[in-house]
């Protein structure tokens, strides 16, 4: 069991890395995108642009949060 946990932990760290919010944010953005696509709310092209913008926001939130955390560390 210990080895299974260690194996799972390794792959979690490998893919998800230091900030789980990136993985969660990306998955959330794509899930919303999938729903919008199914519902045909906007055109494919516009949806692609909106989703890309949302992914950039996810990245920026993670970077700024980590950056300001490091900058204010005593």
């Amino acid at each position: 069991m210990r080895y299974v946990k260690a194996f799972g932990r390794f792959w979690f760290d490998f893919v998800v890395g230091e900030d789980w919010r990136i993985a969660a944010g990306v998955v959330a953005v794509l899930a919303v995108g999938a729903l919008a696509l199914r519902a045909e709310l906007v055109s494919d092209s516009l949806l692609a642009v909106l989703l890309a913008a949302a992914i950039v926001v996810v990245a920026l939130v993670s970077v700024r949060s980590a950056g300001y955390g490091e900058a204010t560390r005593p």
Partner: protein, 255 residues
């Protein structure tokens, strides 16, 4: 060569080069402090394990997962992985995370090699074998991940493998000639470039792969087709540069 294939080759070559440089430093430290035979056997075992993982994972992905679902799943993984690389690179460039230093890594590994007790197994210095094996396997796994994700999405695993192999040969030959850590390779800059490429292609492919949820299961159309890749690269470069500038201002100034 398409833009996807050119991006594939650049990203895999650069990512492989930095990972191989890091693995080379550790193997070199083991070879110098504990003996080359065990360090090289550890390297060979690591490369063999990586080849096995690549073959099994690549085959399983392509054979068992439908192509449209694969594009979304692999694109998403690549995007998450790429954003982690880019995040670290931005923090390093802003001075908020330590830069990777091969000379320092070599000193640390050499000190560990000199202080470890001798232990023989299978006629090998076990410490040197295990450390070399782990270095090659762990650094190489990132390369395998990039080779498979890029290769599957650009439909060219052989091209991706060739890019990785070329980087490996270049690092090995340079290391063999210099016989010291490859500290002059601009690793941190290269990692930044790889982060940008992974984020760009990950964004493109993961969103394109959303087409799997439609009735036709066709890939989602980006405005401008493949040219959107270039636009995404420009956007990621600009956003990253602005983030570095902002965080540099926030970083504590050294006296």
């Amino acid at each position: 060569m398409t833009s996807a294939q050119a991006g594939l080759l650049s990203a895999v070559f650069l990512a492989s080069a930095v990972e191989f440089v890091e693995a080379f430093t550790i193997v070199l430290a083991m070879g110098v402090t504990r003996g080359w035979r065990s360090a090289l056997w550890g390297t060979v075992a690591g490369v063999a394990a990586l080849a096995l993982v690549t073959a099994v994972a690549g085959y399983a992905l392509v054979e068992w997962i439908p192509e449209s679902a694969l594009q979304l799943a692999v694109g998403t993984l690549l995007l998450i992985f790429g954003l982690q690389w880019l995040r670290k690179a931005i923090l390093r460039a802003a001075g908020l995370k330590d830069l990777h230093d091969e000379d320092e890594a070599f000193r640390t590994e050499s000190a560990a090699g000199l202080s470890a007790r001798p232990q023989q197994r299978l006629g090998l210095d076990w410490f040197a074998f295990v450390v070399s094996f782990k270095a090659v396997l762990l650094e190489g796994l990132e390369v395998v991940f990039i080779v498979i994700t890029f290769g599957v999405n650009a439909d060219s695993i052989p091209l991706a493998s060739a890019g990785a192999a070329a980087a490996g040969v270049l690092v090995l030959v340079s290391g063999a000639i210099l016989h010291r850590p490859l500290a002059r390779v601009p690793e941190n800059t290269i990692k930044f470039a790889v982060g940008l490429l992974l984020a760009t292609f990950g964004t493109f492919w993961s969103i394109e792969g959303l087409g799997v949820v439609t009735d036709s299961r066709d890939s989602l159309d980006w405005p401008g087709g493949d040219l959107a890749i270039l636009a995404l690269l420009v956007i990621w470069c600009t956003v990253s540069w602005l983030a570095v500038l902002e965080l540099r201002r926030a970083a504590p100034q050294e006296a």
